[in-house]
């Protein structure tokens, strides 16, 4: 086996290509427009010539001898019968025509001007400014010259007719010059004193002989330029007309060939790489067949690629052009063909040129030519180069599994059998490797392929697996199935932040969905209503190591957006901990052990007391079992009470969203920052387990009756709403009596609307308050709202009290019919119900009109979301594109990849947004540290060393490894470590 040194792309040089280079690199000249002959073989010197590469399997490339797959294809070329313009450069061609001399090709700038612009250009490049400004200024200056400063030739204006036609505009003597002169000599009919000009007088004034004047008047002599000018001056007429002299591409090419290298530099063209005449094509490169493969349809017919179609057109016209020219066809026909050839080459390059009808397929679909292949989201750059399709990936529906750790993902066996990991066989893992192979591709954990040391890859099949297993020895590679403990990358789109892609450890499971711990829903923003997620199996050791150290879920507990935990308890977990701790219920030994049985706690602490002769444990004591022993913390819960944790014991307070929730639960946040991420992972896992046990212990359900309020409360709500109606009626009466005082800066109408809105808002609030007062504290909806598990008090009051005012564009509903919202109302009815006030509750049910207004408000919300997602998606793409290059450096600065300093110290103080909450300045509790040092209560030297930061705790890399956390050995966390 030959040793190929791996090559690396060091840079990419852009430039124009010399036609000679085309010819040199071309594998063949293409002259036939046909592709395949009747037998289905590619025609020689045709568009599918086998020298251009092969696409059919089994055939051999006639240029490099390789087969399809390994041969990248080779360019061919078409000799164009006449030069044509490359559409991409039309603007530059115009610029060059305008700024260079038509005779000598030199740029129409004096030596000093040229030097000046050259200097400006260099400075713009040095200062990293936009060079285009300088270039444009140079062209503007050069265009001003009416005479070439070098050869003195007169310069004409250039007119550009899009896309590819150029004219030289000259002022020439008009065809009807004699009439114009004669007319000007006539006396002015409005002016009686004007007697006109006699030929003699004209002759005197212009200094032209009288005979000549007469000749001119009889159109027998065309005046010379000087004569014309003096005539024009004498008579005050314009004797010229614009003459458009079309510049053929060949003319332009000749013109450009004369431009010297040093002159085009001023125009920003690199003469070493690109010559202006190369913008006019004389040879057209034919892309290799591999870039335009034909596909065989089911009926055996071949369907050609769009590019091939376009090339066929070009060759046809090219041939007709040549034939006609050789046959000596009239100039007009030649020009027509030339234009046609130009059209085909233009659309071959870009089929979306404005002003040019796009070339179409037989079906009427516009062809996708070169530019269209590169452009846009699905184009080569964004669709094939920046993002690629990959192997070893899987996608399926997700479903919850509270028994998994948050670091894990349940992978269906079927997926595990497809995704493989390469196992390098050594003496020590020989037996395992053999076991994998002998299990075959169908068994799990089996293997799909093996690779012999000589590089040969063998497929493991049901038939050969036993035999292959015996052959395996050290040095082979086995592509084994995914097994428990492997690391994979897991992702849910849209990937809005880095926590949308995290690494999980595999747990192979039956059935067909990916399984997730519910606590990782917030970072992925996932739910289980049919969401699908993607999984990627990593293929080399470096990637696996990086994924473990940097990307594992536990490493991502803290969000860099706000510097607090984004992983934590959600929904029922929070209801569970609330029920467990809010009223501090008592549990018997059995009950307490049952609550903790899904955690690693297997021993109860001392009971909190005795009741009826039996010991009991309180909910807070049970919860405290999960806390680190030396945790001391106090904060206010979202329920509103003060939570105090002393030395790992929850002394008082309710554990709810603010304590253990995702998005900044205090306890989770503190454990992650002060203890370790591993400890936080264990804590979150166990809180979730305990909470599920707790909520199951108490039972938790929500029915329609939970939103009903007593009759007297309903009456009070009705009364509040009636009051509001009355007040609004008063407002309307004052308004109609023209007695309403407008608020400063508002019109009377606006004032009325505002006041009505305020009154209705108050009415809804008071209805809500009434409803709230009548809910029991143990109402499940209230528990959810108070603990922060799900829903809000507003949702509740809408269900039980009154839905309230519906709004469209921030106002009451005002649209619909003329002067009214619905035909059910009188015109100009200003009352609440006519403008979308829903006085019923969701539970009570909406009237048809209320329902309609509610749907109007709801529709607006939906439209808003749809618009918002696309807008914010683009914003994010732009932000990421602009900032992606920035990186913190070892010296603390932030620089981009070309080493430009953007910040001298990241965020002005170098504080990481991940490790310090955005609401804190530095997050170091000096007080606490001093206390610990002074008290000097360390269990052993290691703990002290760690506390002082002299020693780092070992890095945890797996659920299956790490001190005190070894899942494989079943020891779990020692909660009293």
């Amino acid at each position: 086996m030959s040793l190929n040194t791996p090559k690396e792309i060091g840079g990419i040089q852009f430039g124009l290509m010399d036609p000679e280079t085309y010819r040199d690199m071309s594998a063949t000249k293409v002259i036939t427009a046909d592709t395949y002959d009747d037998d289905g073989y590619p025609i020689d010197m045709g568009l599918m010539d086998p020298r251009l590469g092969v696409i059919d399997p089994g055939l051999e490339c006639r240029t490099c001898g390789q087969h399809s797959g390994s041969c990248n294809g080779h360019f061919g070329h078409i000799e164009l019968a006449a030069p044509v313009i490359h559409v991409g450069f039309t603007k530059l061609i115009r610029r060059l025509l305008r700024s260079t001399c038509r005779e000598c090709g030199r740029i129409a700038l004096t030596a000093e001007e040229k030097a000046q612009f050259q200097e400006n250009l260099q400075r713009a490049i040095d200062l990293d400014e936009d060079e285009n400004d300088v270039l444009k200024a140079a062209v503007r200056q050069a265009r001003k010259a009416s005479q070439c400063p070098h050869c003195g030739a007169k310069q004409h204006d250039i007119k550009h007719e899009k896309p590819t036609t150029y004219y030289e505009v000259q002022d020439v003597l008009a065809g009807d010059y004699s009439e114009r002169v004669a007319e000007a000599m006539q006396p002015d009919p409005d002016d009686s004193e004007d007697e006109g000009t006699s030929p003699q007088a004209l002759a005197d004034e212009t200094g032209i002989e009288l005979d000549r004047i007469n000749d001119i008047l009889s159109a027998e002599f065309r005046p010379t330029t000087e004569a014309r000018k003096s005539l024009e001056k004498a008579l005050g007429v314009d004797l010229t007309e614009e003459d458009m002299n079309k510049l053929m591409p060949s003319d332009i090419r000749d013109w450009f060939e004369d431009i010297p290298d040093e002159d085009i530099e001023v125009l920003g063209i690199d003469p070493g790489r690109s010559r202006p005449e190369w913008m006019i094509l004389t040879v057209l490169p034919v892309p290799p067949v591999t870039a335009r493969p034909s596909i065989t349809l089911d009926n055996g017919q071949r369907s050609e690629d769009d590019l091939t179609h376009k090339l066929v057109d070009i060759i046809r016209i090219n041939q007709r052009f040549m034939e006609n020219r050789e046959a000596g066809a009239p100039q007009l026909i030649i020009e027509d063909l030339w234009e046609l050839l130009q059209y085909h080459v233009t659309t071959f390059v870009d089929n979306e040129i404005s002003g040019t009808p796009p070339a179409r397929h037989r079906s009427g679909r516009p062809l996708k030519t070169l530019s269209q292949r590169l452009k846009g989201k699905e184009g080569r750059f964004r669709g094939s180069l920046s993002g690629k399709r990959v192997n070893f990936s899987a996608r399926t529906v997700i479903s919850p599994d509270p028994t998994l750790s948050l670091n894990e993902v349940g992978v269906p066996e079927r997926v595990a059998r497809e995704m493989t990991q390469t196992l390098n066989v050594t003496e020590r893992n020989l037996e395992t490797a053999q076991q994998y192979v002998s299990n075959g591709p169908e068994g799990h954990p089996g293997a799909n392929y093996v690779r012999r040391p000589d590089g040969r890859r063998l497929k493991v099949t049901e038939k050969n697996c036993e035999e292959l297993a015996t052959k395996i020895e050290a040095g082979w590679e086995v592509n084994r199935h995914l097994v428990d403990g492997d690391i994979v990358i897991f992702n849910r789109q849209p990937s809005l932040h880095r926590m949308s892609i995290m690494a999980h450890e595999v747990v192979v499971m039956p059935y067909k969905t990916f399984r997730l711990n519910t606590t990782v829903c917030p970072p992925y923003n996932a739910d289980f209503d049919g969401d699908e997620m993607n999984m990627h199996a990593l293929q080399n050791e470096e990637a696996r190591a990086e994924a473990r150290v940097l990307m594992r879920v536990q490493e991502q507990i803290l969000s860099p957006r706000f510097g607090e935990n984004i992983i934590g308890a959600i929904q029922d977990h929070i209801s569970g901990t609330y029920l467990l701790t809010h009223e501090n219920p008592r549990f018997t030994e059995t009950q307490a052990l049952d609550l903790l049985r899904a955690t690693s706690v297997d021993e109860l602490p001392d009971p909190d007391g005795e009741e009826d002769g039996k010991p009991f444990w309180t909910g807070r004591t049970v919860f405290s079992e999960l806390l680190p022993d030396d945790l001391t913390l106090s904060f206010t819960s979202s329920t509103g009470d003060a939570v105090t944790i002393e030395d790992g014991q929850l002394v008082e307070g309710t554990i709810d969203e603010d304590a253990v929730g995702a998005f900044g639960g205090e306890i989770v946040d503190t454990i992650t920052k002060v203890y370790s991420k591993t400890r936080a992972r264990v804590f979150v896992n166990e809180v979730a387990s305990l909470a599920m046990r707790a909520i199951m212990h108490f039972g938790f359900s929500l029915g329609i009756d939970d939103e009903s309020i007593p009759d007297e409360a309903n009456e009070m709500v009705d009364e509040a709403i009636t009051n509001a109606h009355e007040r609004i009626q008063e407002l309307i009466t004052t308004y109609e009596a023209d007695e309403l005082d407008s608020l400063p800066g508002r019109t009377v109408d606006e004032t009325l609307e505002m006041k009505i809105m305020q009154t209705l808002g108050k009415a809804r609030d008071s209805a809500g308050e009434i409803a709230e007062d009548h809910f029991a504290d143990d109402n499940p909806a209230v528990i959810m709202a108070r603990s922060g598990a799900r829903g809000s008090m507003l949702n509740l009051t809408q269900m039980a009290g009154c839905v309230g005012q519906q709004a469209v564009r921030g106002e009451r509903i005002n649209r619909g019919y003329e002067d009214r919202t619905l035909s059910h109302y009188k015109p100009n009815d200003l009352s609440a119900e006519a403008h979308g006030f829903v006085e019923n509750s969701y539970r009570g049910g909406l009237t048809p009109r209320e329902f309609f207004f509610h749907a109007m408000g709801g529709r607006e919300g939906l439209v808003d979301t749809a618009v918002r997602t696309s807008k914010s998606g683009y914003l994010q793409r732009r932000l990421i594109n602009a900032l992606s290059e920035l990186e913190a450096q070892y010296d603390g600065t932030v620089r981009d990849t070309s080493d430009t300093i953007v910040q001298f110290e990241y965020g002005e103080d170098g504080t990481s947004p991940v490790k310090v909450s955005s609401s804190e300045e530095h997050g170091i509790d000096v007080d606490n540290i001093v206390d610990r040092v002074l008290e000097s209560e360390f269990e052993n030297e290691t703990e002290k060393e760690r506390f002082l930061g002299r020693e780092e705790p070992p890095t945890n890399l797996s659920e299956y490894a790490g001190p005190g956390l070894n899942k494989a050995q079943g020891t779990g966390v020692q909660s009293d470590d």
């Binding site: 932040h497 290059e885 920035l886």
Partner: protein, 403 residues
């Protein structure tokens, strides 16, 4: 440096010798002082513990802070509202908020959708409502409709303005004579419309030079647009009493429309606190550093308004810093930072792919493949984060030939 009773030389020396920033050192001194002093050994341990935690909170070298910031601003964008509704309150100015405002800022638009200024006042102007109003009148554009009634006398081909004396005295607080004010107004009209005016007391009359019904109406239309006092761009000023941090109250003006440079000149305006929501105006009047600060404040305010106050300012700083990195305000996107990148491939991959490639050919550009996007495209490891370090491991001893 503050003196602490219980902090001795040793403690000071140990602390000063550490890598801690000044604010943490002070905190250490304070805490130690509270505890009534510590031994040198204890101090050493305290400082070590604090220092290790401090170093823990530093950004990691090679952290891709740019991408993280972009994500941290972009991700909450999905949670922001699209439409901007008016406030229900009275003395409020409508301003664009939410996602449209954020996009506007990042785009670095020349003029925002709803230009606005917050004008702080100094000295007695800030506490005296009358004086504050003086400033209001010199800022707010006063049009004729605010000064009196305009009527058209079609029979005599005349426009009649009946000025309200009270308003005149209020808006021209420095002049006591109504006649004089009226005369000034008449003068302004003559200058602006090019007509002759007649004035009797506070009634001003004028008409078109030649009787023409159309011209008469035209004059009325033009008259409505004439600015008699204040700054033309500012259509409305709202005055609000606000509480300062120290508990005192002061008047703050909010304006609809902005003319930052002009307002700073007006007497009574506290230029040090007055701001404007047009970052370009701030850039023109106060320079690029102020513009950077303005972008941070405006983005932060926009996010806070939407209840996303938890976004770390450092992310916004980074965005602001890259927008102002070259000394002027550059937008984020095709016409700004992304469009002026050095790499051809990076530009081509963002927007207007084909043009960038053609231009690159003409200029003979060379892509050195330094950046992130280019390396993704050519399939090399990116030079950021873990891709920015080279690790070499000697798995073979040099004498042993590798196969």
């Amino acid at each position: 440096m503050t003196e602490y009773e219980h902090v001795d030389e040793d403690v000071r020396a140990i602390t000063e010798d550490s890598e801690l920033p000044q604010r943490l050192r002070e905190q250490v001194y304070e805490t130690v002082d509270d505890r009534g002093g510590v031994t040198a050994e204890q101090a050493d341990e305290i400082v070590q513990a604090v220092e290790s935690r401090y170093l823990d909170t530093r950004v990691d070298p090679l952290d891709p802070v740019g991408t993280v910031s972009a994500q941290s601003i972009g991700e909450p964008g999905t949670q922001m509202t699209m439409n901007t509704f008016h406030y229900a309150g009275v003395a409020e100015i409508d301003v664009t908020q939410g996602l449209p405002r954020l996009i506007e800022l990042v785009d670095a638009r020349k003029t925002p959708d709803t230009p606005m200024m917050t004008v702080h006042l100094e000295d007695e102007y800030a506490v005296d409502r009358e004086r504050a109003h003086e400033v209001v009148w010199s800022i707010e554009a006063t049009k004729i409709l605010a000064l009196g009634d305009v009527s058209t006398n079609v029979a005599d081909m005349l426009v009649q303005i009946d000025l309200n004396e009270g308003t005149l005295l209020e808006r021209w607080p420095t002049i006591d004579d109504v006649e004089e004010i009226a005369a000034r107004i008449a003068e302004t009209i003559e200058d602006a419309l090019g007509v002759e005016t007649r004035r009797t007391g506070t009634v001003i009359e004028f008409g078109p030079s030649e009787p023409s019904y159309r011209e008469l109406l035209q004059l009325v239309e033009e008259l409505r647009e004439v600015v008699f006092k204040g700054i033309e761009d500012i259509s409305r000023v709202v005055i609000r009493k606000e509480q300062l941090d120290d508990g005192e109250e002061e008047f703050v003006l909010y304006t609809e429309g902005s003319a930052f440079g002009d307002v700073l000149e007006i007497e009574g305006v506290d230029a040090s606190r007055t701001t404007c929501n047009n970052i370009h105006e701030i850039y023109r009047n106060l320079g690029v550093e102020a513009a950077r600060e303005a972008i941070i404040n405006e983005t932060m305010d926009t996010l806070e308004e939407q209840g996303l106050d938890d976004v770390n300012v450092r992310h916004l700083m980074l965005v602001s810093d890259i927008m102002t990195n070259r000394g002027t305000i550059e937008s984020i996107g095709r016409h700004g930072i992304s469009g002026s990148k050095e790499s051809v491939l990076a530009r081509a991959a963002f927007e207007v792919t084909v043009n960038h490639l053609l231009d690159a050919a003409i200029h003979g550009e060379r892509d050195r493949l330094d950046g992130v996007i280019e390396n993704v495209i050519v399939g090399k490891p990116v030079s950021i984060g873990t891709g920015d370090v080279d690790l070499r491991m000697g798995s073979f001893s040099p004498t042993q030939p590798s196969d």
